[in-house]
């Protein structure tokens, strides 16, 4: 039994639930049988991947849904062997080049070259080109992005790229200039609620009260994937649904909130050690470090007044950036916590002094 997230993924452009105008545009785009390289961007859980697969289906028919997992081998110029997992159909290949870290250049180049040099065997009624989907393009090294520039132009006759990313900020201008940008905004709260109710619960034969659907949509920050997971988890906990039912929030969010409360409660080296343990716990459970930073910040500023809020934000931004340059997340999160403690303690003492 598959999760609802996969089970109810629309398969055709015409079946998409929201951003209908854009779906129409995409349809027009492939109607000519051709399209430029695409750069699809939008926040997580906005439905980028779904839209891309619908587009491919529009182009090649249902054959693109017959996927196979392949282990491809590459060799770097320094003779280091690389293995990467790709997801492919007869018409396209999907790969996340950042899986191989700094060797992504090799993967990107070789993959496109092999694909582009093999013409479609049976071209009757088929497209002239294959499609390469590269995910998490913002994580590509600068070298790999540079390497893409001319490759994209050179092989355009036999190969189209669909680049998928959360934000275009880290995509170099030379690549942006070669792609058609397709922005996929997150669905609105109403749209998420609508999907939960009509496209999923109805088909499951469940009755989801509109109030609860809206609360789920709000709690998941317009992230449809999270909303669906939340909805499914909530159903497991209690069905039939009731309006006031408690939502099953992910454990780690609760844990993080408690951690923030501990930081505000006491500022001492001993407490810092305790907090460190808890952060370790989160990191070992693969919670992304930026989520930890954002979660902490959100809770911590609740206890600060105007000017202090800005200072704390600035600390978070500073340390989070540092973290990305280093290799041990725990150091930087801990540094942020320590800096906050110092700042907050000073603030408390000063406001105490003012009172007397």
């Amino acid at each position: 039994m598959s999760l609802w997230v996969d089970k109810y993924r629309p398969k055709e452009l015409s079946k998409l639930d929201y951003h209908l105008e854009q779906a129409g545009h995409l349809k027009k785009l492939v109607e000519g049988g051709d399209f430029p390289h695409l750069l699809v961007y939008g926040p997580p859980g906005a439905g980028k991947k779904t839209r891309i697969m619908c587009l491919l289906r529009e182009l090649y028919g249902s054959g693109v849904e017959r996927l196979r997992i392949e282990h491809q081998n590459f060799q770097t110029p320094s003779k280091k062997k690389l293995e990467i997992i790709t997801l492919a159909s007869n018409y396209h290949v999907e790969v996340n080049p950042s899986d191989v870290g700094i060797y992504d250049t090799v993967v990107v180049q070789e993959l496109i070259k092999t694909l582009a040099s093999v013409h479609q065997l049976d071209t009757t009624g088929q497209r002239e080109f294959k499609v390469v989907i590269l995910t998490e393009v913002d994580k590509l090294t600068k070298d790999a992005q540079h390497a893409l520039r001319r490759t994209m132009e050179k092989y355009i006759a036999t190969c189209r790229l669909i680049l998928c990313t959360n934000s275009t900020s880290k995509v170099i201008p030379a690549i942006r200039s070669r792609c058609l940008g397709v922005r996929v905004p997150a669905p609105s709260v109403e749209q998420v609620a609508q999907v939960l109710q009509c496209s999923v619960c109805k088909k499951e034969g469940l009755n989801l009260p509109p109030e609860l659907a809206t609360r789920m949509a709000e709690a998941s920050n317009r992230n449809l994937r999270r909303a669906l997971l939340l909805c499914e988890a909530t159903k497991v906990q209690q069905y039939p649904f009731s309006k006031q039912q408690e939502l099953v929030m992910p454990d780690w969010e609760v844990y993080l909130r408690e951690t923030a409360a501990k930081i505000v409660e006491e500022q001492s080296p001993k407490r810092l050690l305790e907090v460190r343990e808890r952060i370790y716990e989160l990191l070992t459970h693969c919670i992304p470090s930026e989520a930890i930073f954002k979660g902490l910040l959100q809770e911590l500023v609740k206890n600060c007044d105007g000017e202090l809020k800005c200072e704390v934000t600035s600390l978070a931004a500073f340390h989070e950036h540092r973290l990305n340059l280093g290799s041990k997340p725990i150091f930087h999160i801990e540094a942020f916590v320590a800096a906050f403690m110092a700042l907050y303690k000073k603030f408390l003492e000063e406001s105490m002094a003012d009172m007397f």
Binding site: H25, K28, L29, E31, G32, G33, D34, F35, P36, Y41, G42, P43, P77, S78, T105, Q109, E110, S117, H119, D143, H146, A147, R149, R150, E153, K154, A157, S167, T168, S169, K170, P173, A174, R176, S177, R178, C179, L180, G181, R183, V184, P185, A186, N221, R222, E290, K294, V301, G306, K309, C310, T313, S314, A316, A317, F318, E320, H321, N324, L325
Partner: protein, 343 residues
């Protein structure tokens, strides 16, 4: 390198049958060529706005010797097109045998770049596109190759960032900087393309494309074709162009600044979440904030300077992998401290 040699051979060997087939198909499916390729200048004369290099190449076409060349400049200013056009004009049908077009990023180590030079004698021009992604050792190796082959071969290095090319190489080449194209040149090109493609557009579309392209003609043409394609033959609207180019709607930026002026941290946070949920890129937001802040008459010069300094810091952190939301929030806090104070 193996890959290159293979593809190089394949390209030449299998060139006959596949190109024949290609042209047959091309007749049927003309529409498949993107406009950027279709309207790539075919002769040096057609290259707009880069008079300096055109003058040098014109001399070469008239029989003068060609120096080694180094083209550098931002994307979409005609670097690749210029050298390809010149080579085509110089060699005509011999193009395939006399010109080797290398994508320097094909080969990133010494061992693979050296052999790149080896077939040099048989070629007249070696184009090293994207030379800035060659490693330093590879560049050093090229230095030697350039000297050894200097009698029979001219090199043309093409790159975005000249600072990434080692000095000994740059000093062996005549350097040409490709400037971002001027507005009227862009407008001119785009209108020509619109006319020959029969694109219908409402007033201001061309201006909007030019505005958002920042002198990058490739980007301008891509946006134009994309908006035209998305509309599928209907009249192209300015809003389509803005959507395709990823510009953040002005009111979202204004809302953000309003929240800053109102000194509301929560408000700012809310607006930023909306911006990011809508899928706008933080870098784009920053660049538009920059323009708006500079034009704001209520801010003192000192405040503007402070905000811009923070902007630079946040942009740097963003490119260094910082989180979009945190960096924007930090920046907005600074803006708030300056804008909110006046209120």
């Amino acid at each position: 390198m193996h890959a290159f040699l293979k593809t190089g051979k394949l390209g030449a060997g299998a060139g006959g049958p596949s190109s024949g087939e290609g042209s047959k198909k091309a007749a049927v499916k003309k529409a498949l060529v993107p406009w950027v390729e279709k309207y790539r200048p075919k002769t040096v004369e057609e290259v707009a706005y880069q008079e300096e290099v055109v003058a040098v190449l014109r001399k070469t076409l008239e029989g003068a010797d060609l120096p080694n060349l180094l083209f550098y400049g931002p994307p979409g200013t005609g670097k690749t097109s210029t050298i390809l056009a010149a080579a085509r004009q110089l060699f005509g049908d011999m193009f395939r045998q006399r010109v080797l077009e290398l994508n320097a990023s094909d080969s990133t180590t010494v061992s693979s770049t050296r052999p790149d030079g080896r077939p040099c004698p048989s070629f007249k021009i070696v184009i090293l596109d994207e030379a800035d992604s060659m490693t330093r050792p590879a560049q050093a190796a090229l230095r030697r190759t350039m000297e050894v082959q200097s009698r029979s071969t001219r090199f043309c290095l093409v790159c975005n960032y000249v600072t990434r090319i080692i000095e000994p190489l740059t000093s062996r080449c005549s350097k040409f900087r490709f400037r971002p194209l001027a507005q009227d040149v862009l407008e001119d090109r785009l209108t020509t393309i619109c006319r020959s493609e029969g694109v219908k557009f409402e007033e201001g579309v061309v201006a909007a494309v030019v505005e958002t392209s920042g002198g990058d003609l490739r980007r301008a043409i891509t946006s134009l074709q994309s908006s035209a394609r998305l509309r599928g033959g209907d009249v192209v609207r300015v809003s389509d162009v803005l959507d395709v180019t990823g510009v953040v709607p002005d009111e979202l930026i204004t809302h953000l600044l309003d929240a800053c002026s109102a000194n509301s941290y929560e408000g700012v946070k809310e607006r930023l979440s909306v911006l990011l949920a809508e899928g706008h890129a933080a870098s784009q937001v920053m660049s538009q904030l920059h323009d708006v802040v500079l034009a704001n008459p209520h801010l003192s010069d000192l405040s503007k300077a402070a905000i811009c300094e923070k902007l630079a810091v946040c942009e740097h952190r963003l490119l260094g992998g910082g989180d979009e939301f945190l960096q924007l929030l930090d920046l907005s806090c600074t803006a708030m401290q300056h804008l909110g104070r006046g209120a």
